[in-house]
């Protein structure tokens, strides 16, 4: 099996086959089910939510198909990282778990006349989780081994810097225009929905707490995707739009700076502040050009920023001048 086929098998084929099996089970149970069926259970294990049986069928198929599509999208391109592998093995896990809950809970309700008598769903949850984990672990070994793509070995850029010359490089790092619209749009939508729901239904105190919570989320997002990046005679510093967090690397701690191309999902498993494994820490606001700073302690700091070659060139020139 080629690597591509293995990824398709684990991310798409196996989950969809499992989900289709669950769908067949639901279809087989349909004639014998009460109407409505139990679709939600309280913590005590008693059914407390009811609805049409077809809901489970639709949720199962739509969710698994959507996640399968997601696995295809995130594994495009070269290389295969551990985070991509985890996201792929999550596909069969979710398929098993959702099938156990959505199809299993209906299967147990066959022959009932009243859905309030539906047995607890908790054993299904447990079995689904355990079997799902087993399938996910098996999938892990079936998938190709991870290959962190070798860093592009372009020579470290440098520039002329006179003994008395002072230089500084500054740049802002932010998501691309489309991503910004998406981030702001999502925040606005969630905030609006929350506020409307709260104003309609909740006491003022709760509304205030939730409002504060939404502001906090907006601040955290702003702090993790908008950055100001500087190279000065002191070294390298990246500060979030809020001022904190702040990541500084003094000149004396810098071994070398290079320019790399970052694929956020493959290299870091997403955007924001990220550990990429092997001592690599990333400030990832978008895909593409990034400065990679190799520290003397062997760790790497990676920051996605435009014009990274100029930043790396200045940093290398400053480092060289400081050691000569």
């Amino acid at each position: 099996m080629t690597d591509r086929i293995r990824k398709l098998l684990i991310g798409v084929i196996v989950p969809i086959v499992i989900a289709l099996g669950g769908a067949a089970l639901i279809a087989a149970a349909l004639p014998d089910l009460p109407d409505p069926v139990a679709i939600h259970w309280g913590a005590s294990g008693e059914a407390d939510g009811f609805g049409p049986a077809a809901t489970n069928l639709v949720i199962l198929l739509v969710f698994i198909c959507a996640y399968s599509l997601f696995t295809v999208l995130i594994t495009r391109g070269e290389g295969f990282s551990a985070s991509q592998k985890v996201m792929l093995t999550t596909a069969p896990f979710l398929a098993v778990l959702l099938t156990a809950i959505l199809a299993g809970s209906l299967w147990m309700q066959r022959g009932l006349t009243d859905a309030t008598l539906a047995p607890s769903v908790l054993p299904l949850l447990l079995v689904g989780t355990v079997v799902g984990l087993g399938v996910a672990i098996g999938s892990w070994f079936l998938l190709p081994s991870t290959s962190v793509r070798a860093a592009e070995q372009s020579a470290a850029p440098s520039m002329q810097l006179g003994a008395t010359q002072r230089a500084v490089w500054m740049r802002r790092s932010a998501p691309t225009g489309t991503a910004q619209v998406f981030i702001i749009g999502t925040l606005a939508l969630v905030t609006t929905v929350t506020i409307v729901a709260l104003v309609l239904a909740a006491p003022p105190l709760l509304t205030a707490v939730y409002g504060g919570f939404m502001v906090l989320i907006a601040l955290v997002v702003a702090a993790s995707v908008y950055w100001r990046v500087q190279v000065t005679s002191q070294g390298f510093v990246a500060r979030s739009a809020l001022g904190i967090p702040r990541f500084a690397v003094p000149l004396a701690d810098i071994d070398e700076a290079t320019v790399i191309t970052v694929n956020p999902v493959r290299d870091f498993g997403g955007w924001g502040l990220r550990w990429g494994g092997l001592g690599r820490f990333g400030i990832v606001t978008r895909a593409g050009e990034a400065i990679e700073i190799r520290r003397t302690n062997g760790k790497h700091l990676i920051v996605t920023v435009d014009d990274a070659s100029q930043a790396a060139a200045l940093l290398n020139a400053l480092t060289t001048r400081a050691t000569v």
Binding site: L161, G162, A163, T164, Q165, R166, A167, V168, W169, M170, R171, Q230, T232, S233, D307, Q310, L314
Partner: protein
């Protein structure tokens, strides 16, 4: 944006700042609408007097390259000027001057005399 000054140079510091920033606006590496660093921040990082930076920013404003707005700082203007041809002519001039073994100073002097 990369900004350099050399206190050992015979050119005044504010002129060095103006030349560096102007050059990057003309070459397009600083885009219209971009915000220049706050004067205080730039002065601190380059270890120069804030009035030197302010003087440079005022010079760039007088030349029409930036606008100084209260609260917004120094913003590169979006006046519809196309520097592309000028940038091409300049690289042509430099190539020709190098071929003739002229120094940058000599080329600059020729341009000033012909102005």
């Amino acid at each position: 944006m990369l900004i350099t000054v050399d206190p050992a140079s015979t050119l005044p510091l504010f002129e060095q700042l103006v030349a560096g920033i102007r050059g990057q606006i003309i070459s397009g590496s600083i885009a219209a609408g971009a915000r220049l660093p706050a004067a205080r921040e730039l002065a601190d990082t380059l270890d120069i007097n804030i009035h030197t930076v302010l003087r440079a920013y005022q010079g760039l404003r007088d030349e029409g390259f930036i606008e100084l707005r209260r609260g917004r700082g120094a913003v590169v203007t979006d006046r519809a000027r196309d520097y592309e041809q000028l940038a091409q002519h300049i690289s042509g001039l430099i190539a020709e001057a190098k071929r003739l073994d002229l120094t940058p100073g000599a080329l600059g002097a020729l341009i000033r005399e012909a102005w």
